[in-house]
């Protein structure tokens, strides 16, 4: 009896000592009809007409009662890639799909992901000729409520197909005065996205997740190259194990570039690499440079000015702010010449006027600071709240209708709450 009991206990210890590795791989989705002869990619003008707020009449138990569809572009491998993204009401879920068409039908093929867990699966949608393709194709005709019906199905990996149906209700809410900001270039590695946090591919993914701006973490290498990386140390949370460890500031850029790979195999990018992608390959219009090191900000400032000039030359409306999280970074910031005219975002409310920051990075955990926000708005400052992840709080903060943007690890949820809102 005793031996059996002890054996059970030690088996239990062995069993419970195993920590589960979570994964949420993007599913393979080979849909013959989508790639059949006679189909062609959806043009930008047609894709844009699919945008809107849709009621979910089938599949609502899975995804909630509404979805916001948004047509976005990125440039990848020198090609323009158009994506139809869907931001669902429920479970921080989204889909990312591409579109093709024949003369009589529009096809949408992609995958969905629920970010509250690891669930992912394929999404295949159609817009029949009389149910919307005819209307969408005629660029002169307005799109009204119930005029587009998208039908199709979804399937979690290894399960039967289930029905989906979206019915067009209204256009997306105008986002020109509101920013959907994605944390760490688009999302965290721990959220099992198909790209590592603070990476080039994550920037490309961010717009597909609903972001119109990003926050990124700036650190400095031992040879003074600003790079984009969150943690103070090299560790297996963010990089593939290779024996390198310790403070990332102790390594040169060449060492980091040649020897270190992020969890998805990408290299740790320099700040310039990321800003090139933002400027040349996406429609992102805001970047928050969250300074994570203590030292001179001269190089970061020079890069900021360089990319603001480039954006201006391209007629791009890009806001690029140096983040000031604390007193020490602020000391380094005010050491810059003419710091009062350098675009910045201050996380400390009391210092915004002193440093002439353009915006306040308001911690969500203080609640909605309406008097402070209104005070800043009255003198032309912006307020962005960070880092808001709880779906219920996201809905509440969006409905307060007072922020200029919300930073989240779940831009898809912010996008849904904002676009579907009044």
């Amino acid at each position: 009896m005793k031996r059996k009991f002890i054996a059970i206990i030690f088996s239990g210890i062995l069993f419970t000592s195993c920590e589960k590795e979570f994964t949420a791989l993007v599913p393979e989705n080979n849909w013959d009809e989508f790639t059949a002869a006679g189909t062609s990619p959806l043009s930008d003008s047609i894709g844009k007409r699919i945008e809107g707020v849709y009621e979910i009449s089938k599949g609502d138990a899975m995804f909630g009662g509404s979805v916001a569809l948004k047509w976005v572009w990125t440039i990848e491998n020198s090609d323009t890639v158009y994506t139809l993204s869907g931001f669902f009401e429920k479970d921080n879920s989204y889909f990312i799909a591409s579109g093709r068409r024949t003369d009589s039908i529009i096809l949408v093929n992609g995958y969905y992901r629920k970010m509250v867990n690891t669930e992912t699966g394929v999404v295949r949608l159609k817009i029949e000729y009389e149910k919307g393709t005819l209307l969408i194709s005629d660029l002169s005709k307005p799109i009204g409520s119930d005029s587009i019906i998208i039908t199709g199905n979804f399937s979690q990996i290894g399960t039967e197909l289930d029905s989906l149906q979206f019915i067009y209700k209204r256009p997306l809410r105008d986002d020109s005065n509101f920013l959907i900001l994605a944390h760490r270039c688009g999302g965290r590695t721990s959220d099992l996205l198909p790209a590592a946090e603070n990476s080039v591919n994550m920037v490309l993914l961010s717009t597909k997740l609903g972001a119109t701006g990003i926050e990124l973490d700036v650190r400095m290498t031992s040879d003074e190259v600003p790079i984009v990386y969150h943690d103070e140390t090299l560790n297996d949370r963010l990089i593939q194990p290779n024996g390198m460890m310790g403070n990332i500031a102790n390594y040169s850029y060449a060492q980091i570039r040649d020897l270190v790979r992020l969890t998805d195999g990408q290299t740790i990018p320099s700040l310039r690499e990321i800003l090139d992608v933002v400027l040349l390959q996406t429609s992102l219009r805001f970047v928050w440079l969250d300074v994570k090191y203590y030292g001179s900000l001269q190089l970061v400032y020079e890069i900021q000015q360089e990319y603001l000039l480039k954006a201006s030359q391209m007629n791009r409306d890009l806001v690029l702010l140096i983040g000031i999280p604390d007193q020490d970074v602020q000391q380094n910031f005010i050491a810059l010449p003419d710091y009062l005219n350098i675009p910045s975002l201050n996380e400390r409310y009391d210092e915004i006027i002193n440093v002439n920051s353009n915006a306040w990075g308001a911690p969500w955990s203080l609640g909605v600071m309406r008097p402070e926000i209104e005070s800043l708005h009255s003198i032309g400052k912006k307020v962005y709240v960070w880092t808001l992840d709880s779906p219920a709080f996201i809905e509440q903060y969006v409905s307060e209708n007072i922020y200029d943007g919300i930073l989240s690890n779940y831009p898809c949820k912010v996008a849904h709450s904002y676009y579907v809102g009044p």
């Binding site: 206990i9 419970t16 920590e19 970010m115 690891t118 969150h230 955990s365 609640g367 709080f393």
Partner: protein, 235 residues
């Protein structure tokens, strides 16, 4: 590890002082067996290692103090209230148990515990309050290996009855699923110093919410592994 050594040293010192004034001590407090109707207790500390999927680079053992009291109201029924405290966040557990089987060699008991946890965090960047109610139905089985060596295995369900978070004036009551996860624990109770007994335990929780990390507002619903080490002295 240094902290663990310091802790053991502290417990050793406390138990030495305490044992000077005590002639007897209970041999167990977790092991499911009736000894007497006297009130007995234990004090100690638990260390929960924060899971990376929740706390990312902050991967540390977080200590919490614990007081536990055991009172048999009959030879079968017992009450076992416990307080786990970290000052800014604390959990009070009211637990009752029933001995299903109890012999000289082994014991089996069913336990039902209800708890309330609450936390307040105020600083330059935080104005947070949170509280919630949990329930832990459990079954435990123990075997007496030697005269003074007791081994207990405990399986628990973790049920999340209510959770409420407040940030400033904004609040949310989370409609979390009732079933939050499960835990498996192992306890060894044996003599430590003089007549004082020590409880060494390991609790493996797989759950989607753990009250000690309520401030993070984690939205990931998968069952995450929260390992917990327990060191207690029986008084």
């Amino acid at each position: 590890m240094r902290k663990l050594h310091l802790l053991v040293l502290l417990l050793l010192t406390m138990s030495t002082f305490y044992s000077h004034g005590q002639e007897t001590s209970r041999g167990f407090i977790v092991y499911p067996k009736f000894q007497s109707r006297e009130l007995h207790g234990s004090y100690g500390i638990t260390f929960m290692t924060t899971p990376r999927v929740v706390t990312e680079e902050f991967h540390r053992r977080i200590p919490a103090g614990e007081f536990s009291v055991l009172k048999f109201v009959s030879e079968k029924f017992y009450l076992n209230p416990r307080l786990r405290f970290q000052f800014i966040q604390n959990e009070l557990i009211l637990s009752g148990g029933y001995l299903l089987q109890s012999t000289d060699k082994y014991g089996i008991a069913f336990e039902l515990a209800g708890s309330v946890w609450a936390g307040i965090l105020r600083s330059d960047a935080f104005d947070r309050k949170g509280y919630g109610f949990m329930c832990y139905p459990a079954l435990k089985a123990g075997v007496q290996i030697k005269k003074d060596l007791f081994l207990t295995l405990k399986g628990e369900l973790i049920l999340n009855l209510l959770r409420r978070d407040v940030a400033g004036e904004v609040y949310q009551s989370l409609p979390s699923p009732l079933y939050s996860g499960q835990a498996l624990s192992f306890y060894i109770e044996q003599p430590f110093v003089k007549s004082t007994f020590i409880v060494l335990g390991f609790r493996a929780m797989y759950c989607d919410f753990y009250w000690q990390t309520w401030t993070l507002n984690e939205t990931f619903e998968e069952h995450v592994f929260y390992p917990e080490i327990k060191v207690q002295l029986i008084i």
